[in-house]
């Protein structure tokens, strides 16, 4: 959403696909189902989007299949429930666009990538070194501040007695 990654999934398809287009088409159907859910939850939260969601797919055949309701010899066996994306495209609830596989962000979830490409996709997915520290490192900070507190107690015993001991959980 916007530039943030909010949902992802990497799973083996339970059905055998006869062609790459069919496999992509099934992946599209799964992604479209997820998008439909997101749209409804955004609507429920009072944030309806005026744009229809865009689904990027790197297979031209599958992109055509979503918009063109023709039956093709190689696609006639595809289960009917996968074709619900066509209705969505017809109603302009969803848009399909072709993306070259070198810009495909979902690549990181489907195949092992060479290091350079992996870094690039990782950055585009917004996975990066976080500026703020996470919980694991807070423990060290707490220990340091506790030690400082103890030092203060040694220096000024009267003041230290009045100070309310800090709750380590509140510091995080």
């Amino acid at each position: 959403m916007g530039s943030s990654l909010i949902s992802w999934s990497c799973k083996q398809q339970p059905i055998v696909a006869k062609s790459s287009t069919e496999a992509e088409y099934k992946a599209i159907a799964n992604a479209a189902a997820e998008l439909t859910w997101f749209k409804s939850i955004l609507h429920e939260l009072g944030l309806p989007s005026q744009y229809s969601p865009i689904l990027w797919c790197d297979n031209i055949g599958a992109t055509y299949l979503t918009s063109n309701p023709i039956f093709h010899a190689r696609t006639k066996h595809i289960e009917i429930d996968f074709h619900f994306v066509r209705d969505q495209v017809c109603n302009k609830e969803l848009m399909f666009q072709f993306i070259s596989s070198k810009d495909q962000l979902a690549d990181a979830l489907t195949k092992p990538l060479p290091p350079l490409k992996f870094r690039q996709v990782q950055l585009n997915l917004n996975v990066r070194d976080l500026p703020s520290r996470l919980r694991g490192s807070v423990e060290n900070q707490v220990m340091v501040t506790e030690m400082k507190d103890e030092d203060q107690k040694l220096d000024q015993p009267m003041n230290a007695a009045i100070e309310v001991p800090r709750d380590p959980n509140k510091q995080s």
Binding site: K11, Q12, A27, W56, I99, D107, T110, P112, V127, R128
Partner: protein
Amino acid sequence: MASNCHLTSTYGTPFIDISLYQSIVGSMQYLALTRPDLAFVVHKVSKFMHNPFDTHWLTVKHILRYLNHSVLTGLFIAKNVDFKLQAYSDSD
């Protein structure tokens, strides 16, 4: 994960400590919920939970080394003004 890495469940020497493999990979599955960069490799090594080989264990150690060096890496979610939904779909 190296792009020429092929894991198979047909040949190789079985890894001795199966429960160690299972517990480490099981923990990784939780980690993959917040780290999309791990999703694929964890999925890959999870396939051999029932009968891991030494090669699979090497891959798991590789992932652990990667994790060690990327402890502070995480998913960054920025404040947004537009709620434009985009999805990327791919299969392999």
